[in-house]
Symmetry: C2
Subunit: 344 residues, 2 copies
């Protein structure tokens, strides 16, 4: 149907090598032959098949992004950062979605096995070390965002620090009884955020009441749902001694928590974690993750690894920013920016 390099070569009365050179801006081709080839190509609507080029070059010039379909605004922001950054390089960005519900490892494996990308950026996919190890065997560059595994470059946000900052802020406001709404208890982000919460309480000499650390019963999506937050806040409210303020492990849960408060006619300050799109609209105070920057950095790391033979594996941890809105007491509309990211 569409023409190949042979058609052009024949028409332009040159060899296919020359046609190839023209399309690769290669070294030396006479202006005259170049123009002739280009004219014929234009005429026949020819353009090199990336597929064939990739096979011959043994390079696809593609960076593949693997991302769970549900990951909403966080993902869009990260992707925007990746997209803007990749414009600086000679790579295309290709995205594959995985379904969070199904077996993530298998899906990632399926994608990587096909080998379209020269490298893979995996966003918000959480696997066990032993599972990452399996993917590591493909011996292909991988950059993880929002996850940690020693064998790959990773980019994440310091959950411990974020939780510490949020909780400390509430403490500074004068609250002494502070609750925390968690999601899946043994997931990495939750473990860390719980730890940061605890530390902030302890550093302030406050009692950590296990009864005020709750999660909802609905564990779909590891508990990172509005419903879970609603249930959790309901528990807190029904507590014999409800907290005076609350730190939520995620914005989506904070949203549910706010609804629960509204339905129960109570109102205590709440701070979430993420800064999703709707957070601004509902006035939710939160710990913001620098999503755009994370995406851009992922590309930088990936390209570096692709182009330079042996660069060391790096783990970058960003500090989340406290964004104050109306859901927490001293609303002033300001963003407290924390220090620079730390790369180790």
């Amino acid at each position: 149907m569409s023409s190949t390099i042979y058609d052009i070569a024949r028409e332009a009365e040159v060899s296919i090598a020359t046609v190839s050179r023209v399309f690769n801006n290669s070294s030396s081709v006479t202006r005259k032959t170049r123009e002739k080839v280009l004219a014929v190509a234009e005429n026949l609507g020819y353009h090199p098949r990336a597929l064939a080029q990739s096979l011959a070059r043994k390079k696809t010039k593609i960076i593949t992004v693997i991302v769970p379909v549900i990951s909403n605004y966080f993902f869009m922001e990260v992707l925007a950062g990746m997209q803007d950054k990749i414009a600086d390089y000679d790579y295309d960005l290709q995205i594959f979605n995985v379904k969070i519900a199904d077996d993530l490892l298998n899906q990632a494996d399926h994608i990587m096995k096909r080998g379209w990308g020269e490298g893979y950026v995996v966003i918000s996919v959480h696997l066990a070390d032993s599972e990452w190890e399996l993917l590591d065997k493909y011996n292909v560059p991988v950059v993880l965002i929002d996850e940690y595994y020693p064998g790959f470059d990773t980019i994440s946000v310091d959950s411990i620090e974020g939780a510490y900052t949020a909780t400390s802020h509430l403490i500074e406001q004068g609250y002494t009884s502070i609750g925390m709404i968690c999601a899946k208890p043994d997931s990495k982000p939750i473990i860390d955020r719980r730890l940061g919460y605890r530390r902030a309480m302890e550093d302030a000499g406050l009692l950590v009441d296990p009864g005020l650390i709750v999660t909802g019963d609905d564990m779909e999506r590891d508990g990172f749902t509005e419903n879970n937050g609603y249930q959790a806040m309901t528990k807190l409210i029904q507590n014999k001694q409800p907290p005076q303020a609350c730190f939520c492990a995620s914005d989506i849960q904070a949203l549910g928590a706010i609804k629960a408060m509204r339905d129960n006619n109570v109102k205590i300050p709440v701070i979430g974690f993420d800064d999703l799109e709707f957070s601004e609209y509902v006035g939710l105070s939160t710990m913001r993750q620098p999503m755009y920057e994370m995406g851009a950095l992922a590309i930088e790391k990936m390209v570096k690894r692709l182009e330079e033979k042996q660069s060391d594996i790096t783990h970058t941890v960003f500090s989340p920013d406290l964004v104050l809105r109306t859901s927490s007491p001293d609303f002033a509309g300001i963003t407290k920016t924390k220090d620079k990211p730390v790369t180790s």
Copy 2:
């Protein structure tokens, strides 16, 4: 580095043809040889390169989705529908993002030219007929979502009907002076929505006051921004005769309109168009587009076109649903579902 079909053939003492057959579940291979090949492959960590397979088969088994990066929730929902549907077929979904700001035609062209996909689903990209025509020359299946071009399969929502429904609803509530907030005046969706608005007014015997059809001054993203909506509503409010209710061409603008009302201490019923993620959270009434269904249908159409040689081009138009929330008067939390989509 990683092994090829030749390595396996050598180790297993068979021809590469046989190895190929094993991995294609092809017809007849002795159980014994099959097992031997599989064992060797497993041992060497072999798996066929999709790239090479695609070249040899002249089929990539990939459907490429082209989508503007900013298209938020609408896109996520559409994609979810596509993803769920494609599971029924032997194709992979690959996504390329385009930047809405830059030259869309060039970007789409760049992507299609490379030829990764066997077909392209293009979401929310708006080009002139003459531009679509250029892409048509690639002679490759294209399905358009949220756009119309005679030469491709298309899936869209009836903007005229949606605007008519929204406006009529406001009229039924008893309002006689109804404003409309538009975006880029000469874009297809705006032209249609303005038309639907007008018709509803006229059918109800109401006066269409051109002074109540406004848009903001900020025309970034064709005016589909919060800021534009804010400016537009401000204009309406400052009108000598402000409207009693307002239909907004998009949810994002409706959001800005609501903020403008809040800042000016006025409150009139508002209905948007889209049903974005935040719409529910802010209680915005709106015309909902059946995003998930549109995505699923796009895949169906694409596969059909890919597998069956000559199927006729079809244009499917969905009717948007009126979703009533607190931003419009008679909030009842119900969804009025309209009739089935029409395929022509």
